[in-house]
Symmetry: C2
Subunit: 417 residues, 2 copies
């Protein structure tokens, strides 16, 4: 930290904050929502599958009841995107978060296919949470009274030594992972880390990794990283049922009305379908058919993603440029430079994140709540802020980020005063 420079410019920073407040802004960087421009890329989908058009490739009338697995038309495209056999991929309704919640819920009620008893009958259930991470994941395990244990994220994924130590505890039943362009760090798990997670010994026979590959194809460049087949890695290592894998088209077509996917071993899928078949009859197949028609094939998915990249990359660049310009000299913050995903993770001076967020709020700039990238909203260092650049137009984003930079500096000035 360049304390001298901070002190030298303290008055100017305070004045800049007063100017910011005077602007009476109303800007929102809270959530990873696609912009209207991005949603327009899928405009065609609003009139698909089209009148008279309802038959899946296997002859199924998608308008009628049935088919818990989803139609093969869209399952095949997603299997190709992910490099998986189609038999391991189910297509469901719009939200993969829904499936994640249900799996935890059903493991508590009924136990998994590898559980000696329902998790609700365990004295305690513990869970590994790489941090910073996704707030909605932590909310699910919180709701079920799970004790969440954090491990640090690294450049290659997560701290594997810490994970290996934790899974020696038979009460540790699972782990949240966003493996590619992670929320919020942008980190992509390396093949080595993927294989280590697949191969490690766990004391719990029913240990599960919630592999939420929400950003698998969400590049901010013009290339796509390899999607590692962790289900195959785990099978090779003798742990075939380790991964529950999720993805969806939420940030590809329409957020909230796309298609979600659940991929896992045959045994895990059979276990899921047993309860899913009691919960209902099957997913929205008409929407699945519309999506299959819209994409055509896996290459069609990547073509859509390049449009998103072209729309989002300038926004990320604008945020990074402002952070570089305004904050580099002070050494009071560090931030990620993601090549994909929806977020920039900003670490400010320890003990000032909540203050920065409050200052921004008072100036009309909404940021994701303090601590929300940590379980129970408790950031032990009060350091991390998740920035979501996707929704606002570039000019608004620049105004907001310039304001955020001012708040970061002011909080640092206050801290050293």
């Amino acid at each position: 930290m360049n304390t001298e420079l901070l002190q030298q410019n303290a008055a100017e920073i305070r004045r800049a904050y007063e100017d910011l407040k005077a602007k009476d802004l109303n800007l929102d960087l809270t959530r990873g929502k696609p912009s209207a421009e991005q949603l327009d890329f899928s405009d065609e989908l609003l009139s698909l599958p089209g009148a008279g058009n309802y038959v899946a490739k296997d002859g199924t009338d998608t308008r009628n009841y049935g088919n818990l697995k989803g139609i093969k038309d869209i399952r095949q495209i997603w299997a190709d995107v992910q490099g998986l056999p189609v038999e391991q991929v189910l297509a469901e309704d719009s939200s993969s978060l829904n499936i994640e919640f249900d799996l935890v819920s059903w493991a508590f009620h009924f136990g998994t296919n590898d559980s000696p008893r329902p998790w609700s009958q365990e004295e305690k259930v513990k869970w590994i949470c790489p941090v910073p991470g996704y707030d909605r994941h932590f909310s699910i395990t919180e709701a079920f009274g799970v004790e969440m244990i954090t491990v640090p994220m690294t450049e290659d994924g997560c701290d594997m030594d810490a994970v290996r130590e934790l899974v020696k505890d038979p009460q540790v039943k699972g782990m949240w992972v966003v493996p590619m362009f992670s929320n919020p760090t942008g980190v992509t798990f390396s093949e080595e880390t993927c294989r280590a997670l697949a191969a490690m010994d766990t004391a719990a026979p029913d240990f599960r990794i919630m592999w939420d590959n929400a950003y698998a194809v969400h590049t901010l460049t013009d290339s796509f990283p390899e999607i590692h087949n962790v289900i195959a890695f785990a099978e090779e290592a003798g742990n075939p049922n380790r991964f529950w894998c999720f993805s969806s088209t939420s940030k590809i077509t329409f957020a909230g009305s796309g298609v979600s996917f659940f991929a896992s071993s045959a045994e895990n899928l059979a276990w899921y379908e047993k309860t899913a078949s009691i919960r209902g009859i099957g997913p929205n197949k008409v929407n699945q058919l519309a999506h299959a028609q819209f994409f055509g094939d896996a290459e069609g998915v990547r073509q859509v993603m390049l449009k998103h990249s072209a729309s989002l990359a300038p926004k990320f660049q604008a945020v990074l440029r402002i952070l570089d310009e305004r904050l580099s000299d002070y050494g009071v913050a560090s931030w990620t430079r993601p090549e994909g995903g929806y977020f920039i993770s900003l670490d400010v001076l320890d003990g000032t994140a909540a203050r920065v967020i409050q200052l921004a709020k008072d100036a009309g700039i909404a940021l994701t709540g303090a601590g929300s990238t940590f379980p129970l909203h408790q950031d032990p260092n009060d350091r991390n802020i998740r920035l979501a650049p996707s929704l606002p137009p570039v000019e608004e984003l620049e105004t907001a980020m310039d304001g955020v930079a001012t708040c970061v500096l002011l909080a640092a000035v206050e801290k050293i005063s």
Copy 2:
């Protein structure tokens, strides 16, 4: 039973069955699926909401995340159909069965808003099941280990004396009801029965009636019965949280890709939303907008239902005509004459239902499994068979029903031999 006539015609009945088997049929009367003709009534929906068309009346971009309650456009139409205030009606994804499962699941995990503790912590949970009833309802309570206690259906709903007696037991936490054109009896609960259910004293403070109004507007005539506002009845009686009410467009537009609805008291909805907001971000609003555009208003819903009535009524008439012609003289069976819904309930000679279904199966006619209208698939009198006339074309249906009639007679002949 006319034993004499049966004996007299026994040889002829046996011969008819041999002829039936020789036809090598492959017909299916198992489930209440709409026919292709019915699905065609909503063909327009396949290209709705249409390119460039995604804004709800309140200005929401339906393509983006958010709005756990569903969009008001479709909630208002459904509130009008049901005679409810829009605030009491949520619009969700396609399946009301999904919501029913989740409510039971969440009551077990977390307890309801009126529960002293989660149901999973109760020594035992019991449930009232009017019979014959809907197999998928019973499967949900079965999955959660609930003890299901049957009460007989009556012409006005269900045996209220039996219900009033059962709810004196604090372990009795709920009850399944299909209140209009019930599955499979076709019975519609009278206002008196609705008010009695709303007003009765229950020992459990968190007693809930799962009011699955799946066939509220599914008339087989040209008129629509009144939909009683049980939520208001319950509020008037001082039991505001008694009813969880469900319906959907599954058998109005497309089965499996429609919109489902959950209606209840403000307190119950708040309790539901608390967990629903952890499970996900919101339902498929694009599909909701498409449905709102397709219907226009509540009258639009009824107009679609009159088309369904015109398509289904001849099928029901064909079944009833064949049952009358083939079985009336023998007195070995009785059946319902529903004015709405999807089923005819056929009671055969005690102890022969499973045999009838087996005989039909051997002749290539699939009927709903024996006992499936009873909890745990146990029909104590082995008497009830659910007939689903909607899916096959009329000629197939006539062939199938003529075959079923032969099987009913043959099983009776075997029984008295």
